[in-house]
């Protein structure tokens, strides 16, 4: 498919299918990047890449995982192109727009800070499960892991969040 002269029908189909998934795409990208500006860049580049290869999408039911996979690769490309500096978790939390966080309770803000602090290996499967409704098998496919490894990461992710919010130590 050429992106230079899209037909009105192609545009309409792309809009109708991808538009409602923009929130999913943005939140996924945000939790990968932990940065709103990067997340918006990833979303835009992912949509552009999706548009260019839209013809290769056979099953419309597979659109959401297809888009999330594209976003994941876009994010990875950014890391390849540019070595992002390691940033402090507290600084990341401060990057949150106060206006956007104004309605959130202290408990939610503390949880958000704890999620920020998770390694991506733990953060990504958690986002896919809790926010995207992915099954263990779907996460395994998306992350190229075994289902057992996914379950272990999910368990450990929640352990770390629980310890961060409620104290105590991680269970074996």
């Amino acid at each position: 498919m050429s992106d230079s002269v899209p037909s009105p029908g192609q545009q309409a189909r792309f809009e109708a299918l991808c538009g409602p998934l923009r929130a999913d795409l943005y939140r996924f990208a945000f939790w990968l990047a932990r940065d709103r500006a990067v997340a918006e860049d990833v979303v835009q580049d992912a949509l552009l890449r999706a548009w260019r290869s839209f013809a290769s999408l056979g099953d419309e039911a597979a659109l959401r995982p297809w888009l999330l996979t594209i976003a994941r690769r876009e994010f990875a490309r950014r890391f390849e192109r540019k070595s992002l500096e390691t940033v402090d978790v507290d600084d990341l939390a401060e990057l949150e727009d106060p206006a956007l966080a104004a309605e959130d309770s202290q408990e939610v803000l503390e949880m958000r800070a704890a999620i920020f602090a998770l390694d991506r290996d733990y953060r990504e499967p958690l986002v896919l499960q809790v926010l995207m409704g992915y099954s263990t098998e779907e996460i395994a496919t998306h992350m190229e892991l075994t289902p057992g490894a996914v379950l272990t990461r999910l368990f450990r992710a929640r352990q770390k969040l629980k310890v961060a919010l409620l104290g105590g130590s991680e269970e074996p």
Binding site: E15, G19, L47, L48, L151
Partner: protein, 230 residues
């Protein structure tokens, strides 16, 4: 199942309750407390992950490292990016509310298993779905034979099937979907009634031509049984 197995299963997915896990929780107070604690954390986790999504096209100031992007690449992408952004913005702003009924029917087609049982949902599983949405159901509500937390138009919503004298009916509690007046739609073999609720709206779907007044009666009963806790 022992306590270690139970806690690993709960930690991996607090919402997934197998019969073995339910049996263990019924007989182990410590693990039951742990499960409750995880469910509470899960609600907070969900709310924390749901960061606000900026309107399409309303980009914040660029991060400093973005300034280093080669201008040629920007120029090459500008037209396409603008087009996609404008299209997405238009769609985001104008997505027709009238499509709600169609979206509900589309969602139902992806969960045909929802209709296949009349047995009550285990209390723990039902509580998880309701808690996740910040709602509670009074004991005199119709029997719930299916309960899932489903992703629907950008939100997780409770997808319930209740048993009624007219057969199973699907109930979706749509706290983020607002309608100004009751809407009855027949589409794809389903009859859909959407009514305003204390928060958002309630939708009830039936298969086949159930009388509107019968659906309204179920909606009224469910509406009276639902309370918002979150």
């Amino acid at each position: 199942m022992n306590c270690l197995d139970a806690r690993r299963a709960l930690g991996a997915d607090p919402g997934r309750r197998t019969p073995e896990l339910e049996a263990h929780l019924a007989g182990c107070a410590a693990c039951a407390r742990h499960a409750d604690e995880l469910l509470r954390l899960e609600r907070t986790l969900r709310r924390a992950l749901e960061v606000a999504v900026p309107a399409a096209g309303a980009r914040p100031a660029a991060a400093p490292w973005r300034a280093a992007r080669p201008r040629t690449r920007w120029l090459a992408l500008a037209a396409s990016l603008t087009g996609v952004a404008v299209l997405a913005a238009a769609l985001w702003a104008l997505y027709p509310r009238e499509a709600l009924a169609s979206a509900l029917v589309g969602h139902m087609r992806h969960e045909p298993q929802a209709w296949q049982t009349a047995a009550p949902v285990p209390p723990g599983a039902l509580a998880y779905v309701l808690n996740r949405a910040g709602i509670a159901l009074a004991p005199d509500a119709p029997l719930v034979s299916y309960a899932q937390s489903c992703w629907f138009r950008g939100w997780f919503v409770p997808h319930l099937v209740v048993q009624t004298p007219d057969g199973p009916m699907t109930v979706m509690v749509l706290t983020h979907e607002h309608v100004s007046a009751p809407t009855l739609v027949d589409e794809g073999g389903y009859r859909v009634l959407i009514v305003p609720a204390a928060r958002g709206s309630l939708a009830v779907l039936t298969r086949g031509p159930v009388g509107a007044e019968r659906i309204e009666a179920v909606v009224a009963r469910v509406a009276a049984a639902v309370s918002f806790t979150g």
